[in-house]
Amino acid sequence: MEQKPQKQALPDVKEDPFPYDSWIIYGLAVVGAFLLGLAIYKELNPEYIKYQREFKALVEKKFGKEAAASITFGVKQIWIPALNKTERCITCHMGYEWKGLEGEDVPKVFRTHPDIEGLIAKHPFNKFGCTTCHGGQGFATNVREAHVINEGGKKVRWLEPLLSSEKAKEYGFKDWQKSPLIEINCNTCHRFDDSLPGTPYINLAKRLVEEKACRTCHMINGEGGQIGPDLTYEGSKMPEMFDMRGTYYEIKDGKPVPSGRTVQEEIERRGLPLTVFSWHILHFEEPRSITPTSKMPNFGFTDEEKLALTMLVMSWKKVNLPAEYIPRPKKGEVIPQADTSKKAEGTVSADLVKRGEEIFKQKCTACHQIDKKLVGPALKGLFERRKEEWVFAMIMHPDSMVKNDPTAKKLLEEYKVPMAVPGGITEDETKAVIEYLKQATK
């Protein structure tokens, strides 16, 4: 049998030892309910709802109630698994595919996407989305984060910022209203095309790359010299890889002299935004103003050319494109190559001279000009000074020449930069160049 414990008097449990506890709980419950209400309010009233209501009203005004009824509220997106993109831009920019919203009277955010030169037919929305061309953050559903706007000291950083017309204005584009910066993203896929309709800046820059023979020193798309840095993926370099706090140099009497400002201060002084883009503009203007030991010559680019070249190098990004996205190469517009079919020709013909000229432009003009001292000496009257064998040896074996030949040694002392022929050169090519130089340097 269970033994009953001795009964003890039960204290008065109804006397509350903590008389305020209940009231605090009620208070907290009220605050909690209020916060929950606030969370629900925030959830049900996202920023984009305002735009969706406006759009619906606009459609109703323009096309009637029936058309407006098809518009539903909520997050809208284009999902492109192949590109790993989720484009929620269309949550607000709802009119992008509508017909009849092209006019100036329609607010810009709702306007139909213009189809310039059949662009949209070639780049359908469901395959390319929005940010592939425009940049910006496709995930985001609020203006500040989708457009990557930094305001009030609060930073939104995104790898592919929106290439807006406002941005173009900051860099001083004359035609900033046309958002020329978007050409950068065109060329990220179209990097192997010689030229492309609708990308005047990129086309200009590509012409300059050939004219100034950038590949003499720089590797581009796995092709070119190794004197300067490889530029194949220059556009994927992060801001942290550019030393903005280094000294900015001014060129006085042909020599870089510290200006007392940093690169960052120089960028700010010019009213440019503190970006990699601005760094490139300064660097194209005068490479030695940022890297005083740079061997890259000052090509005297115009403002427009600087912008174009900057856009080009910024477009050289590392991207993983599925095969169906790789643009078809433009047939018949292949980059002119040195003609190697006439190798056997031994006589001095006009063809050989012409070929020599082509090779000279490709491989030599970055450092040598006929009338002007550049990185290397001017070549006027070359064969009055040197024997043909010497010139031949210098082109074929510059390394051993600057080590062993007294004349070459002296030249190296004077010019500091050792001669190198980008991509190497064959005996026949050297002969062709010499034939060309015989005529050109007279």
Partner: protein, 411 residues
Amino acid sequence: MKERLYQVWRALIWTFDPADRGEAGKAVTRNFWLHWFPPRMTKESLSWGYSLWLGTISAVLFFILVITGIILMFLYVPSVERAYQSIKDLEYAVSFGWFLRNMHRWSAHMMVAAVFLHMLRVFYTGAYKNGMSHMAKRQINWVVGMILLGVTLLLSFSGYLLPWDQLALWAVTVGTQIARSVPFIGDEIYYVLAGGTRLDQNALIRFYTLHVIFLPALLLVLFSYHMWRIRKDEGLAITEQFSIARKKGEAVQPEMVFSTPWAVRRIVLVSLGTLVWVMFLSVFLKSPLEEPASLEWTPNPAKAPWYFLWLQELVAITTIRIGGFTLNGGFVGGVLIPAILGGAATIWAFIDKSPAEATGVWFHKSRLVQNLVFTFFVLIIVGMTIFAMYFRGPYWGIYWPWAWPELPEII
């Protein structure tokens, strides 16, 4: 009105009406949810001022984390291709995803802080001491508590990587590189954590599994033991004060209150308060989410999670450059000093020989020296954390928080 509310309370919580103390006790011990409480407690054990209820707050935060975490597991994909995108979806597309993620994140931060403060409270009240009790072995619970602090830090740290953004990747890079500077087995530790030579998919799935299964389970087991020990150690250390007073011949009678409803109600109050505070933070403060993780470039500066910032600062301070020779502080600052501090703190409960009177009271005068030394180290750790958080800028340079230099953008 009060009577009516009381009736409602009784109806909801405790329909059983005990006739005597025995029955009241059984009512508690037979209830699964209440069985870890004694039937009655001293009123002082339940006071605000003694325990500050930090242990309860930590436990409540842990349960908020478990609940929000389980929901997040339905939405999160632990793969390097999808992880970041799933967090972006939480932020922008999933209903209440932002709220859920905020609650999980802020609870995690709060829990690290609460557990740390709980540790401080136990130290300053001498609560790991046994007083007059012959049964209590409170030192064991101090050691268990230190392990729980460690597990909490690991839980938070492993969760830090999961969003797979730059903040996550580089904070964990800093953390794992510190672990790498352990002598002899550093590379092995790194390899076990990362599952390879760099932080990639293998690291993500390891951190994920640790975060959602292994560490929470470990924490739950240790937490249960921690609670069980409080019972076996005859309650909170403050109850020792009554034994001490009685031994001195003072006629003190502790005021006893029933666990239910009074202790239960106080726990409900603290739980609700904690929940409301977390909700408040979650409604108004966004959780950070930076660019997708990339090993190709390092953010400037790359900082460890805030609770490891003092370690990073220590590493930076103990890294000595003499000419071209660099002595990496990873071992001294990142491993040796924290190991000595943590080890000393853990065994201190066995070394502390202050009198029994110092048990369960705040800042007992006999413990003045050790309290000061402890405070000194705590202030250094907190100070270094704040310094590294707000005054360390790009290139780990020293800046005023409001004079942070502008960092370049891409376009």
